[in-house]
C-alpha cells in the first residue's frame, strides 16, 4: 500500500459521510483503515488490463410502459421526523 492513512484523512472522510467520531473513535478507525487496506492491497497483483466489472448479469433493456399508479402517501408521511401541513420539515439552510 502506497501511503498510510492519516487521522486527517479519516476526519475528512467522516465529514463527507456526515459522521462525527469522537477522538478515541478516530484513532481506532484510523488504525482499522490502515490494517484492513494494508491487507486488501493484495489486489495490486490483479493485472490493470482486466476490465472493471460492476454488473453481474447481461440484460435486455429493462424498460416499463409509462403508466401511472397511485400510492397512499399516509404510510410515507408517518415516518417524517417533523411535518407541517403535509410538508416534511427539515432544518433551514439560510
Amino acid at each position: 500500500m502506497e501511503k498510510k492513512i492519516t487521522k486527517q484523512d479519516i476526519e475528512r472522510v467522516a465529514s463527507i459521510a456526515r459522521l462525527s467520531p469522537s477522538t478515541e473513535e478516530l484513532d481506532g478507525l484510523t488504525a482499522d483503515a490502515n490494517a484492513i487496506l494494508e491487507y486488501f492491497s493484495l489486489i495490486d497483483e490483479i493485472p490493470d488490463s482486466e476490465t472493471p466489472q460492476t454488473y453481474v448479469l447481461s440484460h435486455d433493456n429493462a424498460l416499463r410502459p409509462d403508466e401511472e399508479k397511485k400510492t397512499d402517501p399516509k404510510g410515507i408521511r408517518r415516518g417524517f421526523s417533523r411535518e407541517q401541513d403535509g410538508y416534511m420539515l427539515a432544518p433551514k439552510s439560510f
Partner: protein, 464 residues
C-alpha cells in the same frame, strides 16, 4: 481597464422535464404542479424508503431523450447508457444521491452554440432553504440535461439559444409545457482569463437572462477593479435578480460517482435511432428556410412564425386561403404583438384559426382597414366575439368598411358641406386641405372607410 474589452464565456446546463405520465423509476404521477397537496404523488421508491429499488426505467422517457438528442443534431450517440449515483446530502434528495446517466449523445449545436452532451436524470424534490419545508412530489420526475460548451458570448446570445431550444422542444412535444417553470438551468461564467463561477437555482427562461446579466456585470466590475472573482458556486435569488455566494460547507466538489448497481445499462440500437430519426418532424430551422422559399416570408417573419409549431402549422393553412405575404405580415405583426402583450402562446388562440382567416380575407378585400382588423382580433381575444365569425362580429360592431360608394359619397358631401373653408383652401392649391377633409370623412365613418378610397373619391368630387 475598459470593461467593454472584457469578453465573457458562458456555458449552460439546462434541465428539461420530459413529458411523461409517470416518474423515471416509479409509477407516481409527474404532474406535481396540479397535485392535491405536498407529498401526494409519492411512493416508497421515490421517497427512498428502506428496501426500495428503482423500477424498470420509464421507456417513454428514454425514447423522448433520444428524440431530443437527435433533434439537437447530436451525431455521436453512445452504445449504451449507465445510471450513476451522484452523492451529496441535501433534503430534497430522498436517498442523498441523485441518479444521473452517462452521456446519451454528444455533438450537436443550436443557435451557434455547440452542445457537449445530453443525459437523463431524476429531478430532486423541492426544499425551501428559508422555511425548511420539503415536498417530494417532484422527486423522480425524468429530466433531460443538455450541457453546452462554454461558448455562449452574452446573456442575449443565451436567450436566443434558449428560444430555439424551446421551439425544438415544442415541435417534439417531448417536454412538459416549458412556460410553467419546467425548465431550469445552471450556468457557468468566466471572464476570459479569469476564474470560472457556477450559478445555480435558475428556474425560468427569464431568470437565465437576469442571472447572466447580473453575474457578467459583477465579474466584469471585479476584474475592472483588479480583483479576481472567486472560483465558487453562487445561488441565483429570483426575487431580487441577484446571485449570492453559498456557504463553503454546502458546496460539494466530489460526488463519488459510482455506477448504480440497481439499474442495468440500457443499450441504444441503430434500429431505434433510425426509427426515431425517420419520425422526427420538420424542425424549426428547416421550416424557416422553407417558409422563406415557399411563401416569400422575410427572415424576421419566418423566425416569428416558426418558433411555435402550432403557429407555423396554422400559418400554412391560412396561407392556402389568403395571400401568404399578407398572412405572414399580419401574424408576425399584429397577431404576435397581441400574443406577447398577453404573454400567451399561439396555442391559446389556435381555436380561432378560422376567425383569423376570415379577418385576413376582410383585410385583403379591403372591407376593413389594418386598424379595424387589429381591433377585431383584440376583441376576439378578449372574448367579445363569442361564436360569431369575423364578418358577423365586424358587422354587429359596426366596424365593417363602408362598402357602398353611395354611403361614402353621402358622407363626402356632408364633409364638404361642413368644411367650406377647407374646400376653398384646396381649390386654392393647398394640398393639406385634402388631408384635412379626408380626416373629417374618416372620423365620420368611424375609421371604417378605406383611406385610399376616401382620398380618390374626394379628389374626384373636388375636381368637379
Amino acid at each position: 481597464m475598459d470593461s467593454s474589452e472584457l469578453t465573457v464565456m458562458i456555458g449552460l446546463e439546462i434541465h428539461v422535464q420530459l413529458a411523461t405520465k409517470s416518474k423515471l423509476f416509479c409509477s407516481c404521477n409527474t404532474d406535481y404542479q396540479t397535485a392535491a397537496g405536498p407529498n401526494e404523488n409519492v411512493c416508497p421508491t421515490c421517497t427512498a424508503q428502506p428496501g426500495t429499488k428503482p423500477f424498470d426505467m420509464n421507456a417513454y422517457a428514454f425514447e423522448q431523450a433520444l428524440r431530443i438528442a437527435l433533434a439537437l443534431g447530436c451525431d455521436r450517440m453512445r452504445d449504451s447508457v449507465t445510471m450513476q449515483r451522484k452523492h451529496y446530502f441535501y433534503p430534497d434528495l430522498p436517498a442523498n444521491y441523485q441518479r444521473t446517466s452517462t452521456p446519451i449523445a454528444e455533438g450537436g449545436s443550436l443557435a451557434g452554440v455547440s452542445i457537449t452532451e445530453v443525459h437523463i436524470e431524476e429531478d430532486p424534490g423541492r426544499y425551501d432553504l428559508k422555511t425548511g419545508i420539503v415536498d417530494y412530489n417532484r422527486a423522480g420526475v425524468p429530466l433531460l440535461e443538455i450541457v453546452t460548451d462554454p461558448v455562449i458570448t452574452s446573456p442575449d446570445h443565451a436567450r436566443k439559444f434558449l428560444e430555439e431550444l424551446r421551439a425544438i422542444l415544442d415541435y417534439l412535444g417531448a417536454a412538459r409545457d416549458v412556460e410553467s417553470g419546467s425548465m431550469r438551468a445552471d450556468a457557468n461564467l468566466s471572464i476570459t482569463g479569469h476564474n470560472r463561477v457556477e450559478v445555480k437555482n435558475i428556474n425560468s427562461f427569464h431568470g437565465v437572462f437576469s442571472a447572466l446579466t447580473y453575474e457578467t456585470s459583477r465579474q466584469k466590475n471585479m476584474v475592472k477593479n483588479g480583483l479576481e472573482p472567486e472560483r465558487e458556486t453562487r445561488h441565483f435569488d429570483e426575487d431580487r435578480d441577484i446571485t449570492l455566494g453559498l456557504r463553503k460547507k454546502e458546496s460539494v466538489d466530489d460526488y463519488r460517482y459510482i455506477p448504480d448497481p440497481d439499474v442495468q445499462p440500457i443499450a441504444i440500437t441503430k434500429e431505434q435511432l433510425n426509427r426515431i430519426n425517420a419520425s422526427l418532424p420538420e424542425l424549426p430551422r428547416k421550416k424557416m428556410e422553407r417558409f422563406r422559399g415557399q411563401y416569400g416570408a422575410s427572415d424576421d417573419e419566418a423566425h416569428a412564425l416558426c418558433m411555435e409549431l402550432a403557429m407555423a402549422d396554422a400559418f400554412e393553412r391560412v396561407a392556402k386561403k389568403v395571400d401568404p405575404k399578407l398572412a405572414a405580415g399580419f401574424m408576425r405583426g399584429t397577431l404576435k404583438k397581441q400574443l406577447n402583450f398577453r404573454s400567451w402562446n399561439f396555442a391559446k388562440v389556435a381555436q380561432k384559426e378560422q376567425f383569423i382567416i376570415d379577418t385576413l380575407l376582410l383585410l385583403s378585400e379591403r372591407k376593413v382597414t389594418d386598424k379595424v382588423a387589429e381591433k377585431i382580433l383584440i376583441d376576439a381575444m378578449d372574448g367579445k366575439a363569442g361564436q360569431k365569425t369575423a364578418s358577423q362580429y365586424a358587422e354587429s360592431a359596426g366596424l365593417i368598411g363602408v362598402q357602398k360608394s353611395g354611403e361614402l359619397a353621402e358622407i363626402i358631401e356632408k364633409a364638404i358641406a361642413e368644411n367650406a373653408k377647407a374646400v376653398l383652401d384646396y381649390d386654392a392649391g393647398a394640398a393639406k386641405a385634402l388631408q384635412f377633409l379626408a380626416g373629417r370623412v374618416m372620423a365620420m365613418t368611424k375609421g371604417r372607410a378605406d383611406p385610399t378610397t376616401v382620398q380618390e373619391l374626394l379628389k374626384k368630387r373636388l375636381s368637379k
